[in-house]
Amino acid sequence: MAQPAKSEAKQIVDNGIEKGAAGLTEDRIQAVINRVIKGESGARLKVYVDTCVHCGLCSEACHYYLSHDKDPRYSPVAKVKQTLWEMIRRKGRVSVDFMRRAAEIVHTECNLCKRCAMYCPFGIDIAYLMMVVRRIVHLLGMTPQYIQDTAHSHAAVSNQMWVKPDEWPDTLQWQEEEARGEIPTLRIPLEKEGADIMYSVIGPEPKFQAQLIYQAAVIMDVAGVNWTMPATAGWDNSDMAMFTGDNEVMGRIKREHYETAARLRVRRIVMGECGHAFRSVYDVGNRWLGWRIPPIPIIHAIEFYHELLTAGKIRVAKKFKTPVTIHDPCNVVRGGGLHRMARDLAHALCEEVVEMYPNCEHNYCCCAGGGVINCGPPWKNKRIEGNRVKADQLADAKIRGAKVLIAPCHNCHSGLEDINHAYELGLDIKFFGDIIYEVMEKPEA
């Protein structure tokens, strides 16, 4: 296995962080920190801070720590120590340089993957504490440039990729037309009030991966699902604003997503293979708005495909031959408990499933999640170096025969592509949707 060249230890300059740092005063920093700690973060923060005994048991959980030869700076608790504790200890009086480093730590050295919470004897959720710091970073205007730009896109056009309002229905109609080459009567029903299901996706699908919409449409059509997609904003379930701590924009786009489903009077929403969006729709975004549970039921594609296969609505014509391994995305596995279902699905679709270890809820993060990949090119090498353990884990699965890596999450997909490439693993990365489309029974054209 090749090792990617270590990026030099020189400082990475991020225009977003620098833009915020320029003109920042310690008075302002202090005011914002105290506002967030006292005004916005309640008992949960206090309990976590008061409970931690600094034992360091969380260290072994973190892929950054493990990938950096157990460098203590990357231990989960050290990330809190270098940021939030210090802010609390100094009553918010920290320097601009301190905040620069804090912005870097919380945005590029933690994927909010929550693996460490399982290792902490008290279940302390370091990811939550990192989110509190990201909120402070947001309010100081120091969010890294590329993910800030993504949050701007959410705010301006209600999707992650600057997809314009006409480009969305136009893309769906184009995919419908393409798919009619295969199934002449296929429809992508737009704005169909009263359908059973609203299918929602994330911005990159219409922008770069329209074939995923095509495949989903074929699956829906063959399964005879009464479904629809909105032609308006509200189609994108993703949420980078959640990861920049821009809660106001997060709430705005989650409201739009759920109210679109409510307007279409669907029974439930099925979301494509995305992890972070799952966290946003069923946990973080809805709750910020006051919806304790999603107001319209929402299920992840893993659950949906599982349901279709179990009900016999789609049938496997010929199982996928090439041996596969499964990456467990943090948000749908640690966060959503879908690892068993993912395995049932993989075994139903594929002849050979090679497990990678550790797996299921103990799986290592892809290192792209939590908005880290969205911090863009300046941080790419750091991200890849921060996940050597994932490369080792994948290489091991490959030695044991795996050739295809199923990653049912967009962020994981992109992050694992980088790992795959940098460490020369030679795996073919797929979504469940790719495999189902390939192996399912389809009507003859």
């Binding site: 005004g39 701007h152 704005e191």
Partner: protein, 420 residues
Amino acid sequence: MADVSRWDWEIGTKAIPFDAWKADFAWVEEPYVSPDGERIAAVVNLDDAQFSVCVNGRAWEGVFDKAWYLRFSHDGRLSALVSEDGEWTVAVDGETWPERYGYVWNTLFSADGARVAVAAQQDMAYAMVLDGVMWENRFANMTHFAISPDGRHTAATVQVKETGEADIARFQAGCYSVAVDGDAWDSVFTNVWNLAFSPDGAHLAAEVRQGLYDYTIAVDGRPWERCFSSVWQPVFHPVSGAVIAPVRLEGQWTVAADGAPIWPRRFVQVWHQQVSPDGQRLAAIVSPRYGYWTLAVDGVPWRTTVNEMVMDLRFSPDGRRLAAAAKHDGRWTLLVDDRLWSQRFDQIRPPVFSPDGRLVAAVVETEGRFGLVVDDRRLPQSYEALWQPVFSPDGTRVLVRGIEKGTYRRQVLAVDQLLA
């Protein structure tokens, strides 16, 4: 609004076989029904990439490569977005507008249904088109479309400055504004969302964000002096003209008018505020405590709450009664004057009051079958599909538009018999 009194209010049924169309076309898409119930229409496929619209069994003459977004306006005009040779336009009652565009979408109607507007893209520039006439000014991007109630004006959020790739400073400094009839406001904002015309169409209010943190309402381009940590869509008071919007203050929501909070009480959430038709009362959907939802009238929440969602707030025409769809433990019902109906349903459509406000009706769905419920009493008939009921102006009759066993029926029923 359309003159409902001129509709056929004779008690009786008119039937149109709908499923029978399937024999004439390769496929028939989901149907739409005119407000007066006289016509049922659907997009139909004739052959490979050949679409038309079938109305009461007769297809429009025009055949298109694509046709979608079939919608009846309030006075019964039937519009569709259609494409020929890669270009798009609007067809109204079978006639296409003369101009062609790169793309058109988001059809809007004036309150009386006589005027039709769409958003359009031409050569990657954007403008609204009203009855076939496009704004002279075009913009680099356009979102949040609106038409004035009288249909004389259209508006949208428009991008007036170039943003540049990932240029976050430029974006935050403000690149967006509002264009009314193609003329942009002088002011620019970081974001502009959810526009609202005044009832006379002379003023326009919108949610704006100045920089990343300061949210407020801008009216005719001028932002309120006071900013909030967030805001939702404004409405104009129909009598006083005041602009009223939910605002977020210190982590909680309330309602502000012309920039100043007017409800002393704070909520976990406040949205969809509405002024009663007589201008006397202001109601909104609120969450009085985390996870619970109800309506509040003039700042006072109702006692009855549900634990999932409230939507479709409707005042009775006299403004005295109020109803909304409410979801509790996974099932929908109606919340009327601080009481929940006793029955629960899989789905419910927006409530409809009789003109005198005495009755409230709603279309409900249970296990894929639709029915009509009036004052919490479910009528015996069930349907495969059912549209919103319409009361006659004198409130003695109700128009029911539904499909059963593949046949569409327009039924006019006597209200007192229904409830007998």
